[in-house]
Symmetry: D2
Subunit: 407 residues, 4 copies
């Protein structure tokens, strides 16, 4: 890789990415463009602008954007159409944000004539893979600089030294080391590392940031109605909202009732296991409701096919292959299934759990006439079951006859 | 089908199967053997014996058996090794009991020289399929009599008339019609039909029988430790127990905390949707704990493969193909994966939810040395990630280069 | 099912469907509309018109149509995009034609005000299922009459008696019974039954109708170039052709070289095994060539995903679920993959075999720069492989370390 | 990685691995143990011993072994039980040999106290991955030295210079460069590189080494009968043989008739496409025959499940994951299916093709009584098909009714 001339950095304004910014300037001597995105992480962005200016970034090289709507509409919602769960439990809150960030990095590189992008992910995690696979898939010639894999600032002390030497201001509470590491966006907050590293130890209460403790949640359940159109949530309690607004509102509701906590040991793409604490309040509610509406609007053929490919789809997103032919092929399959996933679900939130209690839809395939215990109105002839069973049994009988014959 | 001479009936002692018993005697003029099993449904079995005697069954033709241990050891536990969920949510409590009942029916037929078996499942449901596929798979020449598909007693009135005409005693509370239909065994209680038929209406509180309302559950969470060996639960809170005892104990714990309720609209094998209310307290706890122990003892290759075949496995059980080559093949795959699924999980039960909070094992694959945020002790070279990403990206780059070339 | 008033019959003009026609008139007393389609079976259609007139069908009730282009364009080609093979070997020549015939039956029923359709498939085969599932999927209220499952004309003698009694002319060569049964269309000819029923006996030479014996094929190989656009063949040896023309031409080429014979024992959807002799000359060439072009234009992610869902896709078509949500979902996935499957393949035909020998495309992903044994021009850094292997090995090392630890 | 002290080298006796041997001695100053295996590649092994001695290897450090029986029995045959084909066409001849070689390297390392193993695979191919994943899976602490990724001898000139400088004898025909690269074992011969690098150019005739040109094959077909027991071939034309003898004999038969050639562009695990010419005469015959016997001895449930997991299984072997939990899990599934795959198949070999023409077995599931066109003997009630179709159609009708309702 020849030396980069100009690099677009995914910049949070925090200490670590400020150090990276300075390191890129000093180590590579290259011009830096900063990209700071509001993905719903709950931090103000303007301080990042000030800090970038202070670190010598030209105003026209500072990009600050609210991409929450794009995030939910084009990434979160398509993923939820699949009911995606990684390893049975994880709602992929970090994984799904990375390709969007990379997409903007690559686009800004094209706009500003930069030949490289850079990110603050370490060499041990999945995020480096996600950032970089997305970047290469969008621009095969882009250079990617991953300082954590390159530099020798691998201890806290060295980092702080570098910061001081380079006049990077260090907030008082950053002098000591955080007891765990956090990633947040509109879909979730994840915490990992340090005090969480032993999976035999319960996570301390102070780790949770976005959901109340179920024990502290209201003593009265709350009912929420979510309306879907073609697989995407479009209204809460009858009120139409934009995608990001819906997710924000569901986060509020779920968080209030302690919904969406997960303590998980998962398999990283890079080969080791890690333990994470995830809080996905709105996403957990959304998944339950989406399943609820699919129950009456998807037929079994569609539903079972979706279920069978879901683990692969989730794995692709987890591993960073959002921009891959196979993810797009699976998405085409999933989206095709959602044409009639339209209707409303009522869920009950209560002290950490969310459960579907009712669902209705003009697109419903549920037929009381067929299922009823009441005397038949002719919709279904019970005698048909005889032939159905006989032909399904035929091969089993032939197998049994063989086994008997060979004894 | 030539007329059956002697038939083994799955007999609960209740009104419906008593009517079937009498109908078999009168309609087919055949000798009846009754089989009443304790699968943990929570009813006493001796009344069934008395009733059978009263209906003219010879003592040697009355089989009453406690098969709870066999049920849990050979059916429930193998299924839980797979983390089986039908349509993402259903723990298959009814489905998994049917093949065992059929197995005993066929075995008793062989012992007693009967040429037929009979059951009380209707022509609209899945249970007829499960009973009959299992029976044919075990004895290809067995005859199966499904009275509900044959007779003309399809209304409540006709049934009661038949009962009266044949001096079958009718308990007072059976004169009116039950507001819904129930199936129960050690794994779950399911309720469906009548008042539950409209999926847009919430299930009334009185439907639930086995779990307290989450709102009525204790205000204090309870921690439970479950120990696994090769994928099966073997101890609770350090105390070793038999399979059925473990499930009984977990039912008690889960039920007390309102865990394991499910309101589901599902797709029946026979083609229509139905709505069921399931209570699976112990099973829900067991699934969570099993996943918890797999998190640290299964590697990603094993885990992801299991996840990918699980929907198919669950569908086979739901559809009644327990005794099929493909279920046995999948079981071989699953069992192979469980050789190291040994260790202990701590779960927290609280007002309707169950969550893993800690897990440990001598068989753990979790390596703090690899994942730690602390400075490396050499277990992992972050620079390897560079090559890993580059080769994973190669095909994506080639794709992107093509797209650019063709523009 | 109430009695049908007017029925559209899939009518070949042959003896069997003529008997059905008359039987419908006499048994149900209903008006009959005949539908005779040219699907490339190689028979003239006008005799069917004459015969229909003779059997009393009104001219406006006689539908005769050449649907070969629709057959290849909308059914055969989409299926070949998937490289569909049932049970590893069968190109689904019969299966893929049935939904189109049903579609036209149902459409003609709508045009003519008929309330039923009818077909000549027996009660033992797959075709009844395919015809009827397609019909019900397109019109849930249509009635389907399957005479072979209803009538008592189940022996050759009874059939001929019925024909004579009803003045249906019987060609001399139809008096005796055919030594096997044949189905043909533009994609294939299948033969089964009678002399072919013992799978331990080689099929006699006279069974083959559409391909020369490989031993009689030319002694000189023939090279053929097939050009694809988005997964569909569009030209042969540089000459652009319509879908049906391409398949016709490939049949001619393949047949001449003895390509496309298959002797198969397969599993029918209705539960038993059957043995068939299939001749699919053009289809066999097309499959080979399509795979050839995919080799350079599909990346591994897309290709492997296609391969993994192909068996399910083929099974759906075989079982008659062309018009099902899951087939359409899989088709969406497959079609998405074909956007760049454009280019040309050269295959060699010789005495029963067809093999790709060269392929080229502007859409090729093959990169000589990456794969070359020559000294590198920098396209690929061999050192990257080190990291790639290390991270892929990490979980295997952790497993091995566990095994050692537990010994 | 600390410096290795003693290394076991996969040594062919050829120029390249002799250079590696010397390079290991000089570069790492370590003791070298050579392992030369007869996998059926058709070369004498004793010259390798002489050469090793000449290069200074102590006699007790020279391992020469005939492992053909183990290769076929424990690697090739288990793989063929799965009908494994990579990317639809490739019989995995190279892939399946690598894990066995690695296994012996690691075992010999344990016996001789070596701490490292080494191989001659380049940094661009799959073989490095296969060798190394297998080695790490068997011994997590083993060091692997891959000289082609490390040294600077990357051009032919540099290699020859090194050889001369180190007194490694160079056969005259090795001075010039081979026009392509070859790998061979009892299962196949593969050729790639150089003259084969352009997939648009037909492979020259001289590339083929193990099969006659179909045009030169005998003008008379040859029939061969292969007998299987539990999925493995055990006899040819009635004569029982050991696994390696069977494969040798099938190679002879297939090669004589020009069977088993393949010109393929495939996707390497390391991310690029490559073109290979494969000759797998015996394997091609074996696959066809194995499918033939499965046709009558496997039921559809088993067969379709096998088909659906096969692509994944083949990919695992191709990618080098033979020693992985997921390959072993799939093997357990496959082996379970083979319990009744016992019987005999007759195949016809003729000018490049092999086709099943007959098969028979005591374990056959084929039932002439069920499938016959003759009048029924009661084995099958055609009326059952009515109910079978109705229930399979039910969901399709409900879908169609919805679509109509919403119009």
């Amino acid at each position: 890789m020849s030396a980069p001339k100009k690099v677009v950095l995914a910049y949070s304004g925090g200490l670590d990415t400020s150090i990276i910014l300075k390191w890129l300037q000093t180590e590579y001597g290259c011009e830096v463009v900063t990209f700071t995105a509001d993905l719903g992480q709950g931090e103000e962005l303007e301080p990042a602008r000030e800090k970038a200016v202070m670190l010598g970034i030209k105003p026209e090289n500072i990009y600050i954007e609210d991409i929450r709507e794009e995030f939910v509409r084009d990434f979160v919602f398509p993923m939820f159409r699949a009911n995606a769960l990684y390893e049975g439990l994880y709602l992929l809150g970090t994984s799904i944000a990375r390709p969007l960030i990379s997409k903007r990095l690559v686009e800004i590189a094209a706009e500003t004539g930069a030949d490289a992008v850079s990110h603050g992910a370490t060499g041990k995690g999945n995020d480096q893979v996600r950032f970089e696979l997305a970047a290469y898939a969008l621009n095969p010639d882009i250079k990617v600089i991953a300082p954590w894999r390159e530099w020798d600032l691998s201890s806290r002390t060295k980092l702080l030294d570098f910061a001081e030497k380079n006049q990077i201001p260090i907030a008082k509470d950053k002098r000591g080391e955080a007891p765990f590491s956090v990633d947040a966006n509109l879909l979730h907050t994840s915490s990992e590392g340090k005090v969480l590293e032993d999976p035999a130890q319960e996570a301390p209460d102070y780790v949770y940031q976005r959901t109340v403790h179920p024990e502290d949640a209201p003593d009265t359940p709350e009912m929420v109605e979510i309306t879907f159109e073609k697989g995407d949530a479009v209204a809460i309690n009858g009120e139409a909202m934009s995608p990001a607004t819906i997710l924000t509102k569901l986060n509020e509701l779920g968080g209030k009732h302690g919904v969406g906590r997960l303590d998980l040991v998962e398999n990283r793409f890079v080969g080791m296991k890690s333990r994470g604490i995830y809080e996905t309040p709105g996403g957990t509610v959304l998944l339950e409701a989406h399943r609820g509406i699919e129950q009456i609007t998807l037929d079994s053929g569609a539903g079972h096919l979706k279920d069978s490919i879901m683990p692969r789809y989730a794995e692709l997103i987890y591993n960073g292959f959002w921009y891959s032919p196979e993810r797009e092929m699976l998405q085409a399959l999933i989206d095709k299934s959602q044409e009639h996933v339209t209707g409303t679900v009522r869920v009950k939130l209560y002290k950490g759990s969310v459960n579907t209690v009712a669902r209705w839809s003009d697109h419903s395939l549920y037929s009381e006439a067929h299922v009823t215990f009441e005397e038949d109105a002719g919709a279904y002839d019970q005698k048909d079951a005889q032939g159905f069973i006989q032909l399904n049994a035929l091969r089993l009988k032939l197998l049994a006859a063989r086994n008997r014959r060979l004894k």
